[in-house]
Symmetry: D2
């Protein structure tokens, strides 16, 4: 159920409405907006009797929410969520490119990559410090040392940084360093981690799992919003099907569908989906043409020496080409994109 208040509702009115909702054993989620203030209600078993809410102060309207996802739905919030990260806005008119190495391997590799992607027009720097790896014997990331390297790269390039968090134990350590916390596809339904990230004051980049349906993906995001974090960015990264030529199957159809039913920004990661560098460029173009708010691209100064995911990493030169192609494309889609630095 969504409670819409009148334009003239004061913050005190909103708080009184929330208190009244709590008194009914329900959980209020105030959603401030330019043209109205609304309060999402969760915590009910079964439908809520509208009569119980009819006495709320400044009540304009009660709107039933028909989907299992509530706060992520456009039924609850019709306008796009804009996620602000440093000076960058995700979910707005600009196509935002997030780029960087799969793993932070060292200071030099990371700084070289950061400078190159900054120069070519990337707006955020990505890099893994804590890595979820299929094998217990694979390189698991530099950990805190990796975060410190990323922080230095940010200092120099002023690119805000995105890095993955793999568990609740290291959550605070990662969140203290990064500008956006990434939750990877293997953890999309790690509900304890989602709840922890939902209580954090950091934007969260949530990747779809390999077998996640649209509904499961939005329900995972709902965990974040239900805990109070509204700065959530969704990311499609390929599903598991039967491809004999790419690592996963990039499901671009979900981009316009997500844009239709949720107000959250939507990114696409063609690098992990393809698992092959030569497919990254056309898929990045296709993602933007499908309506994505941005792309995540893996870049490495020497891909053949990368400690992880080398085959899908672009060289800085290939990344510059990708940026110039997206730059040609964006205006044709009525979107902006960063100029060369």
């Amino acid at each position: 159920m969504l409670v819409v208040l009148r334009n003239d509702a004061t913050p005190q009115d909103v708080e009184r409405a929330c208190a009244a909702i709590r008194a009914l054993g329900l959980v209020p989620h105030p959603i401030p907006g330019d043209t109205r203030t609304a309060i999402g209600i969760t915590g009910n078993r079964g439908p809520i009797d509208p009569a119980a809410l009819s006495g709320l102060p400044c009540l304009l309207e009660l709107i039933p929410v028909t989907k299992p996802y509530k706060l992520t739905s456009r039924e609850t919030q019709p306008t796009d969520t804009l996620v602000h990260v440093g000076g960058v806005v995700l979910g707005g008119r600009e196509v935002v490119v997030v780029a960087g190495p799969c793993s932070v391997e060292g200071s030099e590799q990371t700084l070289a990559t950061a400078r190159a992607v900054k120069r070519a027009g990337a707006r955020l720097l990505r890099g893994g410090a804590f890595k979820p790896r299929t094998s217990p014997y694979s390189f698991q990331g530099l950990g805190r040392a990796g975060l410190e390297i990323l922080a230095r790269a940010r200092e120099e390039t002023r690119l805000p940084i995105v890095s993955e968090v793999v568990d609740t134990e290291t959550f605070d350590e990662v969140a203290a360093f990064v500008d956006v916390v990434q939750i990877g596809s293997r953890n999309m339904q790690n509900y304890s981690l989602l709840r922890r990230a939902g209580r954090a004051r950091r934007p969260v980049l949530l990747k779809r799992s390999m077998s996640g349906t649209l509904e499961e993906f939005l329900m995972a995001a709902e965990y974040l919003l239900a805990e109070g974090n509204r700065d959530v960015i969704l990311c499609e990264r390929g599903i598991r099907a039967f491809s004999d030529y790419s690592r996963y199957t990039l499901d671009l159809s979900i981009v316009p569908e997500l844009k239709r039913i949720t107000h959250l920004p939507v990114l696409v990661d063609p690098s992990h989906a393809a698992g092959r560098r030569d497919l990254v460029l056309p898929l990045a173009r296709a993602a933007v043409a499908a309506g994505a708010d941005g792309v995540l691209i893996e870049v490495h100064p020497e891909p053949d020496r990368a400690w992880s995911d080398g085959p899908q990493s672009l060289t800085p030169e290939m990344f510059a080409t990708l940026m110039s192609e997206l730059r040609a494309l964006a205006p044709a889609l009525s979107r902006g994109i960063a100029a060369v630095a």
Copy 2:
């Protein structure tokens, strides 16, 4: 094995080389080109001994073909195949839009659609006369009457027509009417039909099956080429995965991969993949951005009254919007597209 002849090889030299290949119990497939003449060889069990071919007239080079698909491979023919249909070229610089109703339902519906799509910039008219239907109790198409209606629409609009052929019995009847014979996804591995179409003098639009791998798709095309038909157009139309919001999962990653390994033109059908009209427009943009040589779009004057596939059919107005969006996109991809008629 691919036999490359010297530039100065005459048609007689080519014929003599073919005869020599036949004498070895093998099947020669001459592939004329601007800069060289090559002869693909099939029919061998196991590798061919190069020594057996060393005496061919005007022999320049012997190139082993490493893939199970031979004639469809760029190893055999590095340059793009251009398929000419009426004045339209598929596989070249122009993004070609094929549009029309799922089923031909009557003269008025077909003519209205043909006029509308022509006006908006479509270059070929599609429409089903013989329909493969999941249920034996569903409308199975108007058959020959449908073909006659399509022919009238062509006469008036000058749009070449594409229509599906569902079996060898009706093949000649359909091929006599249409400019491009379509083989649908359910028949991608109907090898008798493929062989029949391979012997025809009509371009063939071959759709990928719902569970077809890249290799199976190219092997199906190989049936067509091996029988002598080089005018083959490939079409991605969605694979069967686990989507909870679209009918199939459009696999756009296959577009750049096909362009890399085969010389044949590649189209995309977002209408069947999505099964929902609101996804067609962004997916058509994405297909073109991924490198497709064109798209197939279902259009119906009154989609809610369509006898088949209404939910995914665009109205003529929506189709005009789609064309104008593709028209904005094409130059950003260094491609051309038809102007409004």
Copy 3:
């Protein structure tokens, strides 16, 4: 709609009822039974008005059929269909094993296999004479010569034979030789072939396609029944998913579901599903335990020299082991199985 007649309805009554149904523009399908005679009705668009049928002679009851599949449904025929092939009954209490080589390669190979599988307890002999092959350059089967070899093997062993038919052109030739016509998974939605087989007087073994849903599978069978052929046997042979260890993913859950909603016999082909001989034996046991009416097993005297599907073919010794394991299992499932010959 299903029309159930009274016990005392004579053949003349049934014929009069059918005529009355035809007069309404509908298609009657009489379904004789031990305890009742029923008439399935198809050909309607939208629901049939029961009033229009209330005057039928000997009318006992009108039962609406709620599924898109009508004649294949237990709503229409609650009792199991028993398909009689030679002296063998499929769909009854006995677990029936169909065995033989993937391809008929020659007289000796086929006879040796036929004798061995007969001795071990197989009840039908399978073998491919017309082969649908992914590559146009692969061995396509011995054709008519292969059928003649199969016929000789039948003469000697008295095992009825099952062989695949790949197109309408060769349908009569195959049907004249074999006891059961097989329609392979690639042709599950080849509707022209289904209609042709539906009009034939031969039992049909219909394999599920790699991407076929339960509903699509039953609708394909419905094509056969709608044309008048009631001797239809369904066969699960693996779907296409993402397995990294087997060729397809055998979907055994469909066995009990098919047994629940259709009256047709259900077989399972573990050989094609697994693509590996070492999985065939446990999967055959599992299929029978899941409720399958029988299994199809590929056997070859020298699997490593087989012209097709060698890796999944059992040796005669392995097949004898399989039979003895099924023989141990059958009584525990209250089923019978053939003794050693």
Copy 4:
């Protein structure tokens, strides 16, 4: 690399060999056995030089391990792992049935179920106290109160208990109560949780994820073994494919393949795979026939009132039927099974 020591190696020899391996910067994993002692080695990047190990005390043989999974592989340990839980042995001759409610809802429901499944022949009691739920608004389990109820049920029935652990924070709390810790399919690649469970002194039941390949499944188990926990039980519970009649697609082919390449016990959970109670019984039979060491079955005294997964829960009566069918089946497969209590 696997180091095999001579029969006469003393515990001191083993410890000295381990120390020598550590001195090389590698990680030794001693694997005691009846007929030999072996030491698995991990921690290497690239192949290990055998010469470096040639001086180990009591060295019999060095065996290279060719798979990415080492300790889970039969290359490392050819004999079956037997996991002892209370008096129950998993992975041995007996087919072990684990049964109980999806969620612990209360004392009465849990005790009634425990008594009923014990009476019918279940050997372990399952029940969820901490529940991973797709929606943040769904019932998330009774938590500690649920564990206490399970402990009381164990006290009365003497059935050891299995319950899921969803995060590292609550790991100790759960592990203190239960006999087997379950890691659910959504957490199969939650590596922090796997490492935590690998360090615990509790057997772990690891479920395959919905999109997990065989290799990913074994690599997840490898995390557990690499941390020192050898009491690992694998469980297939259905993959995500395109089924239109069941919740997931039970992949029974993986059972014989797992039994071939790993020494760990393998269970099957037909309840979650099917999502429908009527398929559970035939699939349980099929799982055992495919070679599973046991099955997990959801049972509820009043399934229609269950707080979660009611549609797939058996009544106690249906469960007794299932047990009696498995009891008929087991001897035909040369396996034992518990008698009625």
